[in-house]
Symmetry: C4
Subunit: 275 residues, 4 copies
């Protein structure tokens, strides 16, 4: 019986397994929509009580599912500490915690992360391939991005402190942490306008900060773009024709543009990979 | 007679067909400008009535034109369900609907989309080629962009819910949907400032959200840029000289930089494509 | 005498010509700073009168210079209708116009464009080369950029009209042109917050507009980046070693990385180009 | 003794040297956090006095350290005028200056720049390599970026002056410098909303400025991205297999993808470089 449960809950190949996963995704989406609705003022008190009940019903169902997942997993420890295992736990915990801290119940929306399973369920192979290319580009750029953000944060602390010295609490810069908040709002070009410099020197410094933020946004873009271009080139290079050597085919090409021979494109034969 | 009408209305080669299309584009632009003017307060009541009349005149003319298009189309079904067929219908419907729902009349501006016909009318071949390159880049990146936006939306829902739990209705975050709206305003670096975090923890979370938005904007840019660079490279590669093999010519080059032989540039012989 | 004047005013090779140009640039910068200062409230009435007098002195000097330029130009017609000829005229006209329309005097700052002559005066060859690369990239991308902006403007008109229908004058969207202004403020992620949607549907539509603006900014970036990468690659390709064929040298390289032979880098021999 | 001090203070190879540097970095981070805390209103007067004392203790310690660095440096002049030498001095000066100008004490946060030593201390070779690639890209693009910013600043002055003439002091544009501040706020898409155009013509001009800012942000991005892609390509090109010639390996690859021979990757043999 444990094996059957495993096939249904974890598997996506059998009709039962596919049905279970799709039902689960729908349940997650509906439960999240209900959480969102429950916070809207315009909805009457009575409806809200119903929504609160529904939240409990969904969470208890998900708790049972979580228990069954642990019971039927082939390697229990591995499941519990995997990405999805942790997300599955975080998707039910907040409601139990909200019995003590009521605010916590809104964290239930974290269960939306479970919807990412949809790629595996619907066998969206190409989407997964593209998502992998994005993740791989980010992963290969991680050190450059960390160096960049470390530098930006140090700059924000220094600029924030100077602005605090220049503008002071009387112009809304009530503390250095708040000044740093203002600097981040400015350097990222968000610009709420809840705190704005009032002195001439402060406005000049703010203008310099904006131009800095405006130009350094080019750096992460440059990092990721050049990495992505390099990944894409490597992908395309694999699409050389084995017969005539013609390269640079489109990612989705199945046949050589020049001689018509079949290309070694892993997207071209999805049967092997799926069944 | 139906064939003559077809040549005039759908064709752009004959003088009559070209004149018809240009007159139509002018009529569309003028009618849209009149719609915009009609909403300005400073314009007196009397003028407005005139503008409202003009709207009806234009819409009736466009209705007649639409009827003639259906009548004279070679394949009526194909025309009605084509992009331009649908836009042509949407360009006249709102005024008739506005007899019941007055607000709908402003949707008449959708007829501005009909102006896109100008590329075909004026034979702006190169513009169409460039527009195609943009569309092709977007189309080839569609899955990457959808994966990216799916992820951003899930992040917005989760961050919005956390901000609602942290700030609460007393600081302007009156419901989770409104918090999600704030998150999108922040993550896209728009930053209206109509809702801003007031608590220290909320401001710290907001700063993290901004830095996140500031850096992930690099992802769609990277996707489209690397795709566009790849499309452009493919275009340029086709501009290899057939005589000496020299590649990497400018997109508009007609002759080889090295040996002077004519290049296989489709822009170089517009006669074949147009007449 | 006309020839001597020409050497001094237009030439940059002789000491007198170089001195004249540098003095001119300083005079322009000082006169613009004075114009800016004259508008600051904190400056007393008396000083302002002095600044106003200085403006006249500078403008009369520039008028004399303009007259001398016309007098000494080798091809007068060509000078008057060249970029610098038009800017030179626009740099003095506003003050004379301001005798009738006082507001016009602020347009004198247009004379700042004359400072661009500095590149030629100081023989900033590499800066000019880089400026040319930027301009060439923009020029080659002009059609793609125009197609993009045409599409964005049509979208702004349509979104603005829909927002006017949804929000209406009672929420600050007083007319369709004002709604289009709001749409541009939103789609470019500026986000002043002087007009913000109040209804739930309007906020949802605004969020969609922001995400649209957030993602389509990738398009002009992609256009210019891929064009610039292509220009840069063409530049680098010219830096192939003539002796051993090793390519991909840095733009500023003078000798081959592999065999040490001199590279055909036009920056490496500035003497030929300048004297 | 001077040599021993040098090994401890400047060296990072011996256990004592490593311990000293790590202790220093912690002391810097803690002292900066204390400076930030001291400006928060919610912290009681009594605590603040303690924080102020701590500031003095840290600064005296850093002063002693600075004296010891000068004493033990092999080339004193070189140290004093090096980047770190200047930062070390700027990290202690503000507190002494604050005895006369109290505001100056906030500039102590500049000591955060000393934390950059962490890369050298922890031998974060790859991070340094990536930081170098970023700096090299910025350095090679410096002239293009300066040309770009010069042009943007000239545009900002001209647009600011026109907006001052159009909107005038009654709409918040109280002087041309303030109008230029507004222009920079708008062109960088920050958009505080503290100053907004009120007239129709001013709003039209503002919309044009936004679209301009929205599109020219593509230029620095294009500059840095194409430069970075070129640097990255040069890095990858060095990763050609010496045995079979296969190129385009990942930056972190140690062995050839095709024949398995070891690659000439300087990251692959960190021992040589570090010990």
């Amino acid at each position: 019986m444990r094996e059957t449960l495993n096939t249904i809950i974890f598997g996506t190949k059998t009709p039962a397994g596919k049905f279970f996963d799709l039902a689960l995704i729908w349940a997650i989406v509906i439960s999240v929509v209900l959480i969102l609705l429950a916070t809207i003022d315009a909805i009457s008190e009575e409806y809200r009580r119903g929504l609160y009940m529904a939240e409990w019903v969904f969470t208890i169902l998900f708790t049972i599912e979580y228990a069954l997942r642990i019971y039927s997993a082939r390697d229990r420890k591995q499941y519990i500490f995997s990405f999805y295992g942790v997300v599955d736990l975080l998707s039910i915990l907040p409601l139990y915690i909200s019995l003590i801290f009521p605010q916590a119940s809104y964290l239930l929306v974290i269960r939306l992360l479970r919807v990412l399973r949809i790629f595996r369920v619907l066998k969206l192979l190409r989407y997964m391939k593209d998502a992998n290319l994005l993740l791989r580009s980010l992963w290969h750029s991680r050190r450059k991005i960390m160096v960049f953000f470390g530098t930006v944060l140090i700059m924000c602390v220094i600029i924030g402190s100077v602005m605090y010295a220049v503008e002071g609490p009387e112009n809304g810069f009530t503390s250095i942490p708040k000044s740093i908040y203002w600097t981040i709002v400015t350097i990222t070009t968000v610009g709420y306008g809840d705190i704005t410099p009032q002195t001439n020197f402060g406005q000049g410094l703010a203008a310099a900060t904006m131009l800095l933020g405006y130009s350094i946004i080019a750096v992460p873009t440059g990092i990721i773009t050049s990495q992505m271009a390099s990944e894409l080139r490597r992908d395309t290079m694999l699409l050389n024709c084995l017969a005539c050597g013609r390269g640079n085919h489109e990612t989705e090409a199945r046949f050589c543009l020049k001689c018509g021979a079949e290309l070694p494109n892993d997207l071209a034969e999805p049967e092997d990979d799926v069944s």
